[in-house]
Each structure stands twice: as structure tokens, then as C-alpha cells.
């Protein structure tokens, strides 16, 4: 690798480092939840390596715990990750990526990496890869650490480990709610999911309210111009 490429990769890797502090506890909380849901270390780590999407992994292990069907988990994952389309469109315009570089850049693309890459002035594939692998490395190390920590806990059930799951999604939700329409969608979806979960099994309430709530939001904001500027700071803050 020429010296300049190595430098760009390294700069990318360190550009994301300030976000490690937010990512490590999230990955650890995910691993602890996965462990108490009955997943093995290999299974917990495989999700972090292969799927590499915080909120989708977290929701999947929560749904595994209550015996949700695989198809519903996959659909929930799709719903949670389809926003990456927007990041891809934005990065595809900004970065000059060769055909063979695109699948690699896409595989490791996350909210945080998009936020950091879009905010920087560098536009090389090596830099982007450095940013993306910085998060990938920390996410997977913290997954491993969290799982080991989880097995050291004497009685995770009694400690209230299953409360981490709703708390994590609450903490992800709160910073996203800024406008009236966002508040209406958040409250409406929360109430609808609670009611539906009493009659519908597993992941169905999430899918129904996820789609219904998003339709409601699109309807409520139909007269305002769509916000096409994906703000990097927001994406980075999401830590999802």
C-alpha cells in the first residue's frame, strides 16, 4: 500500500475515534442482552461481524428472546436499516468509488461512519474505509467484552438486564424528537405498539406501527419541503 493510502486510512480511522465512547457501551449492552436471550458467544459475535447494525442487532436479540419468527425479525431489520439508502445516495455522490470498492464501502456503512465521512473534507476510498473499520473494530471488541462481562454477572435476571432493551431504544428515540410531527409519531407509535402487542405475536406490532407511524409522519409533513440534507451531526449522534 503506498504511503499516501496508508495515511488516508489512518486519518479516517482516528477521525471516528471520538465516537468510540458512545459505541462501546451500546455494543456491550447489546451483548449482555443477547447473552440473556440465550445466544451463544459465536452467535452474538456473528451478528456484530456480519450484520453490523446496532439497533437491528439489538431488536433482533430482544425478539429472539420472546420467540419471534425469523421472517418478522428480518422484516424489522429491513425497516430499521432501510435509511442507509439515504446515506448511500449521499456518499455515492460525494465519493469517487471504483466499482469493486462499492460493495466493501457498503458492507461497513453505518450512521456514525456516514456522519464522520460526510463532515470531513477527504474524499478517498481509503479514508472512508478507515472511518468505517474504526467503528467495526470497536463494535466487535466491545461485543466480545460485553459478552464476557455478562457471563461474570451473578444473576442478570435479578439485576434487571431485560430493562436495558427498552431503555436503549428510549435513549435512541429521545434525541430524534424535535418537531411536533416527530413527537406525534413517537407517542402514537409507542401507544399503538403497546396496544397491538397485547393481541399480536412477536415482531408484528413493530412492523405494523413502524410502517403506520412513518406513513403518519409523511402525511403530517406533506406540505413542508422534504429534508434531503442528511445532517452528519445527527447521524453521528444517533449511534444506531
Amino acid at each position: 500500500m503506498p504511503a499516501e493510502s496508508t495515511g488516508a486510512f489512518r486519518r479516517g480511522f482516528w477521525a471516528l475515534a471520538p465516537l468510540w465512547l458512545g459505541v462501546v457501551p451500546f455494543a456491550a449492552a447489546y451483548a449482555i442482552t443477547a447473552r440473556s436471550a440465550g445466544l451463544s458467544l459465536i452467535e452474538t459475535q456473528a451478528l456484530s461481524v456480519l450484520v453490523f447494525a446496532g439497533s437491528a442487532q439489538f431488536s433482533a436479540v430482544g425478539l429472539f428472546a420472546v420467540g419471534t419468527a425469523g421472517a418478522e425479525i428480518v422484516l424489522t431489520t429491513f425497516l430499521l436499516n432501510v435509511r442507509h439508502l439515504l446515506y448511500g445516495v449521499s456518499l455515492g455522490r460525494e465519493f469517487e468509488l471504483a466499482r469493486r470498492e462499492r460493495p466493501v464501502a457498503a458492507f461497513f456503512l453505518t450512521d456514525e461512519a456516514f456522519g464522520v465521512a460526510a463532515a470531513s473534507k477527504e474524499r478517498s476510498f481509503r479514508f472512508l474505509l478507515g472511518v468505517e473499520l474504526s467503528l467495526f473494530t470497536m463494535w466487535n471488541l466491545a461485543t466480545l467484552g460485553g459478552f464476557v462481562l455478562g457471563s461474570a454477572l451473578p444473576d442478570p435476571e435479578r439485576l434487571g438486564v431485560d430493562l436495558i432493551f427498552p431503555l436503549a431504544f428510549l435513549a435512541l428515540l429521545v434525541p430524534l424528537v424535535r418537531t411536533r410531527a416527530e413527537l406525534v409519531v413517537a407517542l402514537g407509535s409507542g401507544v399503538a405498539a403497546y396496544v397491538l402487542a397485547r393481541s399480536l405475536p412477536g415482531g408484528l406490532p413493530i412492523l405494523v406501527t413502524g410502517i403506520g407511524g412513518s406513513l403518519l409522519g409523511a402525511y403530517l409533513t406533506r406540505n413542508s419541503p422534504p429534508d434531503r440534507t442528511v445532517r452528519p451531526d445527527d447521524a453521528a449522534r444517533e449511534v444506531a
Partner: protein
């Protein structure tokens, strides 16, 4: 086996979303941009409420802990602070007086 089949599906839809955006040349329509903006809000909210009460008759203190955690998330915007505060309040409220 069904676990790994589910993982394969998760990988497919996640990589698909990431890759499709990167190779796409045309803009999404206004409707889809608005729709996608609300997806995380609607989905995150629906992952909170059904799992808040828990199954061991501690619904009251769990909801109270979540309210404090939400305030912490609002003030600090730090995920780990919100989770730590929520768990700490839960433990405190559990102590029998």
C-alpha cells in the same frame, strides 16, 4: 439452523439497503424521503412500550426508571448515560423501605 437462516436474511436486507443507495443515480421521491425520516422514530418507539413493563410485576418502578432515563437522554443526548441512570433508578426503587 433457523438462527443462521435469520442471520442470512438480516445480512441480505442490511447490505442490500447500504449497497442500493451507493449505486443509485436517481433521487428518491419526496414521499419516500419524508417516510424514511420517520422510520427510526416510529420503530424505536414501538420497541420501547411493549417491553417496558417486564414480566415480574415490577411495571411501576420500571416505568418510573424509564421516565428518568428519558430525561437523562434529553439532557445529555448520551445513550450510555441514559441506560446507566435508568438502571440505577430501577435498583434504588427496588430497595424495600
Amino acid at each position: 439452523m433457523s438462527f443462521w437462516l435469520t442471520v442470512a436474511g438480516m445480512v441480505a436486507v442490511t447490505f442490500g439497503s447500504r449497497y442500493a443507495g451507493l449505486v443509485r443515480r436517481t433521487e428518491l421521491s419526496d414521499f419516500w424521503v419524508r417516510f424514511l425520516h420517520f422510520v427510526p422514530i416510529a420503530v424505536f418507539a414501538s420497541l420501547v412500550t411493549p417491553y417496558l413493563a417486564g414480566g415480574r410485576g415490577e411495571a411501576g418502578i420500571r416505568v418510573a426508571a424509564a421516565v428518568v432515563a428519558a430525561l437523562a437522554a434529553w439532557r445529555t443526548r448520551q445513550l450510555w448515560v441514559a441506560i446507566a441512570v435508568g438502571i440505577a433508578v430501577f435498583w434504588l426503587l427496588r430497595i424495600p423501605f
